[in-house]
């Protein structure tokens, strides 16, 4: 059951990204996807296995798959959508809106991980979770802007 919920989240986030009317060029999206994935993977391994700040439920394959789906697809696509909307508009209301959506959605899916016993907090708390989300969002925007500039300089438009 738990893996179905996380499959749904992954599907939803991928569909939101695919359905956007204004998108960054594909090369920028691919580079950003990889750069986000590297950071998220390191964050997960270091906080769970090195610092023991939370425990990943590894007793069942469905819980483990849920964690992988969450980390490699759901969060990555939420952040991709964030970068695509943020960097293709100049309206501050849209920028604020997508920033709040990205933050709250990550808080929500993070809480779902805890409710469904995929993750159990040990030293991790809400403040650390919020700070981590803000840091990763800032990283996404900075790298997105850099890749966007590189692409526009080289003429990659789609």
């Amino acid at each position: 059951m738990v893996v179905v919920i996380f499959l749904f989240f992954a599907w939803f986030c991928i569909m939101v990204q695919v359905s956007l009317s204004k998108k960054l060029p594909l090369s920028v999206n691919l580079l950003l996807f990889m750069a986000i994935d590297v950071i998220l993977t390191n964050k997960l391994t270091i906080s769970a296995f090195n610092l023991n700040l939370f425990k990943i439920n590894t007793n069942s394959i469905s819980h483990f798959l849920s964690m992988i789906l969450h980390n490699d697809f759901t969060v990555t696509f939420v952040l991709l959508t964030f970068a695509n909307v943020f960097l293709t508009t100049s309206k501050s209301s849209i920028r604020w809106g997508i920033s709040i959506y990205t933050f709250l959605f990550q808080i929500f899916i993070g809480a779902t991980l805890r409710w469904s016993h995929v993750l159990t907090d040990k030293g991790w708390n809400f403040f650390m979770e919020s700070m981590m989300i803000v840091i990763v969002m800032t990283y996404t925007i900075l790298l997105g802007r850099l890749f966007q500039r590189m692409a526009s300089k080289e003429g990659w438009i789609r």
Partner: protein
């Protein structure tokens, strides 16, 4: 996750990672530049990203199929070991285009590179970069390399197809479709 310590010294496995990384990046720097900064970043980053995703899925519980470096715990040197994959992505695409290994020749080309990757992984096992666990065998990596290299070519050709580029852009970008 039970932490297994394989060794505590700065020895063969660290030198292997540093050596492969330095030779790989130096060769990119020394050879004529054929790609734009965005293309170069793509080809370099893809190996690092694939390495992270697969290693951090296969080496952690419940699978725990292998360990990297001196111990099961993730260390700074393990992070650096992903940089070792970076130049391979670059050379993989460089030679693919330079030798015009398009259409059916792509299959032979990917098979060749997957064999090279397995050979390098074998060397890595010998010097202690990889420690297989729970029955994992070197040959299991072969289909993973085939799959990842195919994805690499596919994504590269998709992202850097000429029709994605502004016609009047004057910067030379090499991509033979």
């Amino acid at each position: 996750m039970k932490n297994i310590i394989y060794d505590n010294q700065f020895n063969g496995n660290e030198w292997f990672v540093i050596g492969v990384g330095v030779i790989g990046f130096a060769s990119i720097w020394l050879f004529p530049k054929r790609y734009s900064p965005l293309q170069t970043t793509f080809n370099i980053l893809i190996g690092v990203a694939f390495g992270h995703v697969f290693d951090h899925t296969l080496k952690i519980p419940p699978l725990e199929l292998y360990d990297l470096g001196d111990q099961s715990k993730y260390q700074l040197m393990d992070f650096y070991s992903y940089m070792m994959y970076a130049p391979f992505g670059y050379w993989f695409i460089y030679l693919y285009e330079q030798m015009r290994m398009f259409k059916i020749k792509t299959i032979v080309y990917i098979l060749f590179w997957a064999a090279v990757a397995v050979g390098l992984e074998w060397l890595g096992v010998q010097v202690g970069v990889y420690h297989y666990k729970h029955g994992y065998k070197l040959i299991y990596s072969f289909p993973i390399y085939l799959f990842l290299m195919s994805i690499h070519i596919l994504l590269y050709r998709l992202a850097f197809a000429q029709d994605r580029r502004q016609i009047n852009s004057n910067r030379p970008v090499f991509n033979k479709k």
